[in-house]
Amino acid sequence: MLGLSLDQLRADMNRLLALLFHQGVLDEQFLQLQQLQDESSPNFVSEVVNIYFHESEKLLRNLRALLVDKEFSDYKKMGIHLNQFMGSSSSIGAQRVRNVCIAFRAACEQNNRAGCLRALELLEYEYCYLKNKLHELFQIEQQRILAGAVRYPVPQQHPNNPQV
């Protein structure tokens, strides 16, 4: 793993990001998140994304629990969960997940249970894909950090600039 060069890792990360943007999985809001990360808040993106994962999985569980219930009728409650999911997805730039939420909400407003179930399946799929890709991204980022640390272990002795 450490044999990978910094350049190669950076290229991998950029390639993955480009792919995700191209696929519409992420939008420019994700870039905003990255811009907000700096020395004073070096883990900002992963912190926000981890909160998002935690929240999303709870919401998905709630949505599924509502829909599998044969007596289900609380579309209003489902709508509230969806609005929350939509909002947080939008805030981190999870464009495709957000778009599925929009379609899901439309089915919800029509009290269309079958449509909601289909939308939920799609939502779970998109969320899974997003989560996997973001994990991949963070892994590359971690490797970059490690590779960067190994690169500068000890100051070298230089004839013109001796260091004690």
Partner: protein, 222 residues
Amino acid sequence: MGMAAAEAQFHVLAVDDSVIDRKLIERLLKTSSYQVTTVDSGSKALEVLGWHEGNPDEAFLSPRNHQEVEVNLVITDYCMPGMTGYDLLKKMKESSILRDIPVVIMSSENVPSRINRCLEEGAEEFFLKPVRLSDVSKLKPHLMKSKCKENQKPENQENEESEESIEEAKAETETETEIQSQQQQTAQSNNNNNNKRKSMDEGLSQDRTRPRYNNGLTVMSN
């Protein structure tokens, strides 16, 4: 008045029931060198502001007769369980202590009637979520204005007069015109409220390009 130094002193109270959005707005504000307090509800916001139920005026506030901590601007989500951002705005405007604190509303939904209602109730700005750094940069004029106000008499409706002239709304940065219009206080608010409603209805786009509502007079798209 040292501008750079003044910025670090501004304290913004951010209200949002979403954990993620609180984290985001906090980072956005801190990046812009503001001091930030975040709360997850309108009622907690009122606590921080020192407001007490049934006694919106001076009498029942803390012995200092002011807010618990000094807040220079409140930025709040619209859609929250219990007290909405609009309810919070209304309560603040009804309080003689809190009405001078500029309020900005955020919402993920582009609902013209909602935006209109908030601006007419006295919100300074309405931001569509997700909020960006470019939005946060629009807070400064409102913060500067409220600093000026502390040195002037509170009787003039200084919160509202900046909404009057259409020229201001056309300018991307309205700092100078706002300070000027404070001195041109007129009784035009009623008429201009109607104008605001019209221009809002005419100018709105349905898609998610990000219209900006500067005091409701024109829509500026990015």
